[in-house]
């Protein structure tokens, strides 16, 4: 078996990305959907760090990853607040039932 290289990490990130999107699309519960989004962000982070590591791009990748973690936190906070608000209004956070606005 070959030494774990860039492609290995990339495969993990692609898989994580796909799983995240799968989660977003298929889960009814809004919190679960948010979890999917976190997975997507994580996969991007892996990419940044892996590319920086193997391409010898310096520390920029890690910095970016840090930023993204912070942004993810901010986004999660706001998203959860919105979910809670929905729950207050509807006593329900099933995303697929939120379709009063449509054509």
């Amino acid at each position: 078996m070959i030494h774990a290289g860039l492609t290995h990490f990339l495969v993990i990130s692609v898989a994580l990305f796909s799983l995240g999107i799968y989660g977003v699309i298929t889960r009814k519960n809004a919190v679960m959907v948010l979890m999917g989004i976190e997975l997507i962000l994580n996969s991007a982070n892996i990419n940044f760090i892996a590319f920086a590591r193997f391409g010898n791009f310096g520390l920029q990748g890690q910095i970016i990853a840090l930023f993204i973690i912070v942004l993810a936190a901010a986004e999660a906070a706001i998203a959860l607040a919105i979910v809670l608000n929905i729950y207050k209004n509807l006593s329900n956070i099933n995303v697929d039932e939120m379709d009063s606005l449509k054509d």
């Binding site: 699309i25 298929t26 995303v95 697929d96 939120m98 379709d99 009063s100 449509k102 054509d103």
Partner: protein
């Protein structure tokens, strides 16, 4: 009398009736007696026309007087060159004679109408229309170019429309007016196309310029064939106006108009305009054109004559007789008997006007009864009417000592001579046969109307002789039907001043190779440059001379035979009409129903047109306006939501686009499910699709 003076008078008498029309129309509702103005104007017109005729025939015998002004001047145009449209007046013998006839009959009809139309709610309007008509007719007569001819031609059509439909409350009258106008227009299209050809070729409308260019060998589209076609197209106008077969159907219907109008329009003037037109363009008719004209004339002489045999409406009989006589004239022109044709035009105008006015007098007396089966015995009640009617009938039948004999005999002789030279014997045969028929039905009319016992006692009791204003025109016209006005020699019109001096056959302008051989001057012909004589070949002149006496005798016999038969049938009742009718029921019905012309037209042209228009209307609504309405219906089957559509959808191509747009919109809407996760699926799918679209660069 100077030329200028004559022109001035001509212009004045042209516009006098128009003045009468305008004044009478505008003041008609204000001033009750304004119709006197119209009558006065007509009197001036008559006087003026006689003065011109006198002046022309005495002082300027051989010259043609014209005067023109530029109506429209387009200047020197890039493609078509110099374009000037001139209008003007032409005074020659023919037009002055025609003017006198028109003015005279118009004047008499005016006089007659004063009594006849009294009490009509639109009394003044009636005279105004008469004025308009007289104006238009004078215009046709006096014009020196074909555009103006067409203009007045149409105006005549309109005034006849107004006059025929004068009692428009009656549906049949309104119908008849419309029919007259439209049928005329059909002929006019031909004339108009003819004019188009002439103008395109010669860039002028003036007769003289056109004739000169033709005589120089400049033909339409450089071919004799097209000259023939042009002549025939213009003749098509005459077919309409002179009620020739197959466009004669309007004339009998036009009898719905007041009877004096019938006398004016449908006997003497308007229908004569067609003949007058052919007279004007005679110089450019080729042999082929003339032959076709002659055929149409012959048919028009024959068919209505057979129809007239069985009609019971006094005016219808006269109407068919008119068509028949006009056919005579046309046929005469077609066979080259130019002078006699025009002569017959004049004589016929007088006696036919007399007949119509006479019938008007009868109808007036019988309280608008027109069916001869309800008349009879009126001779005693209305002697003046009877005798004038009789004289006119004798004249139309071609009995010697009458004007009709002179002109008709000439035509028959001309056709006979023509047949001798070309072998077309059908024309004289038709001519003689129709002469017999004419005599027969005219006397049938007289016998049924005036002789015998009254069949409708009540009406008969009330009948009375007409007043002076109505009787006077009858007398004048009947007197004009006697020979001595035209020639001192009651058997040979050529001796008279009319044919020998007044009516001059025009020069021929057609290339010699397109003429009849006998119309090409040969070495025997006395060629005089500038002479207006038709340059016939000597053979024709000889043939004419040879045929004159036999033809005269034959026509005399034939007229006598017709009159005799009429007496046998109706006066002495030696032959039972009813039985004969039974025996020849088919023929009778055919004649009685006017050869089914109207029915045929209704079935084909009228219904065809209406049907086509309805079809197109529907086409417009259904097909054009909804090529895809159909497509939309198919779409309907496929999609469930199209029902929603349907409320919005109406018709039309635009509507189809609306359909389609709406449909596209609906398709797009389907994606907008309201579920955010579905949206994300769509986004991913789109990205994949984009990826595949652009995967190779």
């Amino acid at each position: 009398m100077t030329e200028n003076l004559m022109i001035n008078i001509a212009v004045i008498i042209l516009f006098l009736p128009f003045l009468g029309f305008v004044v009478t129309l505008l003041l008609g509702s204000k001033i009750k007696k304004i119709y006197y103005f119209e009558n006065f104007v007509l009197f001036l017109g008559l006087a003026g026309s006689i003065i011109i005729a006198f002046g022309k025939l005495t002082s300027f015998d051989a010259t043609t007087i014209t005067s023109e002004f530029t109506w429209i001047n387009l200047g020197n145009t890039p493609i078509m060159g110099e374009i000037k449209i001139n209008l003007g007046i032409l005074i020659d013998n023919i037009s002055t004679l025609m003017m006198v006839v028109v003015m005279l009959i118009s004047f008499l009809v005016h006089i007659f109408s004063i009594e006849y139309m009294r009490g009509d709610p639109r009394y003044n309007r009636y005279f105004a229309y008469l004025g308009l008509f007289t104006f238009s007719m004078s215009g046709i007569v006096l014009t020196h170019n074909i555009l103006m001819m067409y203009i007045f031609w149409e105006l005549v059509g309109v005034s006849s429309y107004l006059l025929i439909g004068f009692w428009f409350e009656k549906k049949s009258a309104a119908d008849a007016g419309k029919k007259a106008f439209i049928v005329n227009r059909i002929g006019d299209i031909g004339m108009f196309i003819g004019i188009l050809i002439l103008f395109t070729t010669y860039h002028t409308f003036t007769f003289d310029d056109i004739f000169q260019q033709i005589s120089q060998g400049h033909l339409p589209f450089d071919s004799g064939f097209w000259l023939t076609i042009t002549g025939l197209l213009i003749f098509a106008g005459a077919i309409g106006k002179s009620a020739q077969v197959p466009l004669h159907v309007w004339l009998p219907d036009a009898m719905e108009g007041p009877t004096p109008v019938s006398a004016l329009i449908h006997a003497a003037t308007m229908v004569a305009a067609g003949v007058y037109l052919v007279v004007r363009i005679f110089g450019i008719l080729t042999a082929d054109a003339m032959l076709i004209i002659a055929v149409i004339g012959a048919l028009s002489a024959f068919i209505p004559a057979t129809i007239a045999l069985t009609q019971n409406d006094i005016k219808k009989v006269l109407a068919y007789s008119t068509v028949s006589q006009l056919g005579y004239m046309i046929m005469a022109l077609g066979v080259g008997a130019f002078k006699f044709a025009f002569f017959h035009l004049i004589t016929h105008a007088f006696f036919k006007a007399c007949l119509f006015l006479g019938s008007g007098s009868v109808i007036h007396a019988m309280h608008h009864e027109q069916d001869i089966r309800n008349m009879g015995g009126l001779r005693k009640k209305m002697p003046i009417t009877y005798y004038t009617f009789l004289i006119a009938s004798v004249a139309i039948s071609g009995v010697p000592l009458t004007s009709g004999f002179l002109s008709k005999d000439g035509i028959l002789a001309g056709s006979y001579a023509f047949a001798n030279l070309t072998g077309h014997y059908l024309f004289p045969i038709v001519g003689f046969f129709v002469a017999m028929l004419t005599a027969f039905y005219m006397f049938r009319l007289i016998i049924l109307t005036f002789h015998g016992e009254p069949r409708d006692k009540e009406k008969y009791e009330h009948a009375h002789e007409s007043k002076f204003t109505m009787a006077m025109p009858l007398v004048v016209l009947s007197v004009l039907s006697i020979f001595f006005w035209y020639t001192p020699n009651p058997v040979n019109p050529e001796d008279g001043w009319v044919l020998s001096d007044w009516i001059k056959a025009p020069q021929l302008y057609t290339p010699e190779n397109t003429r009849y051989e006998f119309m090409v001057p040969d070495e025997h012909t006395n060629v005089q440059p500038g002479s207006e004589e038709i340059m016939y070949s000597e053979t024709y002149v000889e043939a004419m001379h040879a045929i004159h006496i036999p033809a005269m005798i034959l026509s005399l016999l034939i007229a006598g035979l017709g009159i005799l038969l009429a007496y046998l049938f109706y006066q002495w009742k030696r032959i039972d009409v009813g039985k004969l009718v039974e025996k020849f029921k088919g023929l009778y019905n055919f004649s009685f129903n006017k050869w089914y012309f109207d029915e045929a037209y209704d079935a084909t042209a009228v219904n065809g047109t209406l049907g086509l228009s309805r079809l197109l209307g529907r086409f417009d609504l259904k097909i054009i306006d909804g090529i895809v309405n159909g497509t939309a219906y198919i779409t309907k089957g496929f999609s469930t939501f199209i029902g929603k559509f349907d409320n919005v959808v109406v018709d039309g191509l635009v509507n189809f686009m609306a359909y389609l747009s709406g449909f596209i919109g609906l398709v797009f809407r389907r994606f907008q499910t309201g579920k955010v996760q579905t949206y994300l699926v769509f986004v991913l799918v789109s990205v994949v699709i984009l990826l595949f679209i652009f995967k190779s660069f």
